[in-house]
């Protein structure tokens, strides 16, 4: 009887250790999944899918719905000043290139819905916007700070480079334009 108890305790302890080890491996594997890291190594990983509540109107915003079209994904939040500075540029790109199939998608993350709606209204953002309050897409894409912009080719893969920080004429506007051209022509 005592032997059985001892065996059961040993099995339980082993199962516990194995479970904790499994959680550790899973966590490490997930951390390594940031698409931006692969992009930084020169790879072209598939753009992580998402399905979010729309901020600009009822319904869902899913990346899968834009498969076959070049997509610019911009992560922003209403409390981020550079996000406000670059908002007119993104709106301009959306209006200029939408006839060529380009889509600009905004992802508002770590933000209050009401504040984000006011921000979008104030900056006259007419492109589709999804709301990701908990910021789950930030982990998938490997977003480190706001704003960040990614470029998705028609085949659904991330290309070019991610632009960290606001897109600004003096800083990275030429790179932004080059990436837009790349996804349009690919």
């Amino acid at each position: 009887m005592a032997g059985r108890l001892k065996l059961a305790a040993q099995v339980l302890a082993l199962a516990l250790v194995a479970g904790l080890f499994g959680i550790l491996v899973w966590k490490l594997a997930r951390q390594d999944e940031g698409a931006s890291e692969k992009l930084g190594r020169g790879q072209t990983p598939p753009a992580p899918s998402f399905r979010l509540d729309r901020l600009d109107r009822p319904g869902k915003l899913a990346l899968a719905a834009y498969r076959g079209r070049p997509v610019v994904i911009n992560f922003w939040a209403s409390w981020c000043d550079p996000c406000e500075e670059e908002a007119p540029l993104l709106e301009g790109v959306w209006k200029r290139y939408r006839s060529r199939g380009l889509v600009v998608l905004g992802i508002d993350a770590n933000d209050l819905t009401s504040a984000a709606r006011s921000f979008a209204r104030k900056n006259q953002m007419s492109y589709p916007i999804g709301h990701d309050g908990p910021g789950e897409t930030l982990t998938d894409y490997g977003v480190a700070a706001f704003p960040e912009t990614f470029f998705v080719a028609r085949n659904g893969k991330l290309v070019c480079e991610r632009l960290q920080g606001g897109v600004h004429l003096d800083r990275n506007r030429d790179r932004f334009d080059a990436c837009v051209e790349e996804i349009l022509s690919a």
Partner: protein, 151 residues
């Protein structure tokens, strides 16, 4: 007189409600800034300021602490809470440390109990001549062996 009675009644009704209203300070240590992962009272990040401002507005409206927490969880997810909620899967975060503590205490108790039962071997006895007192059987066999050498 009637005015005084109305005022007293209003104060009596208002006091418990006012006492139940939380303050920003009550909640700052219980909420996490989503970008910097510290509690709000230790953060001045823009998103932390946004949450503080929201909490302040809700506190002024006398929303309960739980109500404010629920609203923030709906906006930012459960990671906005410094301590996991006591429901569903989140119970594990509360119970596992307790279980670990109890298991540790059980292991230590068992070891101490075992050690207390383990007695050191008896000291060999010494007779009046200063010789070591041996087991009679061993002494007999030893005498036999020695006799064979003597013989």
């Amino acid at each position: 007189m009637r005015l005084l009675a109305v005022t007293v009644a209003a104060l009596a009704l208002a006091s418990p409600a006012a006492a139940a209203c939380p303050t920003l300070a009550d909640l700052e240590g219980k909420l996490i800034c989503p970008t910097c992962k510290t509690t709000l009272d230790q953060s001045d990040a823009p998103v932390a300021r946004q949450i503080k401002s929201y909490v302040q507005r809700r506190v002024e409206a006398c929303a309960s602490e739980q109500q404010i927490k629920d609203e923030l969880v709906a906006e930012y997810g459960p990671a906005v809470l410094a301590a996991p909620p006591r429901k569903g899967f989140h119970w594990l975060a509360w119970l596992l440390p307790l279980a670990g503590l109890l298991a540790g205490a059980a292991v230590v108790s068992t070891l101490v109990w075992r050690w207390s039962r383990t007695r050191p071997p008896p000291e060999p006895s010494v007779d009046s001549n200063g010789r070591l007192g041996l087991d009679p059987e061993l002494e007999r066999r030893l005498d036999e062996e020695l006799a064979r050498f003597d013989g």
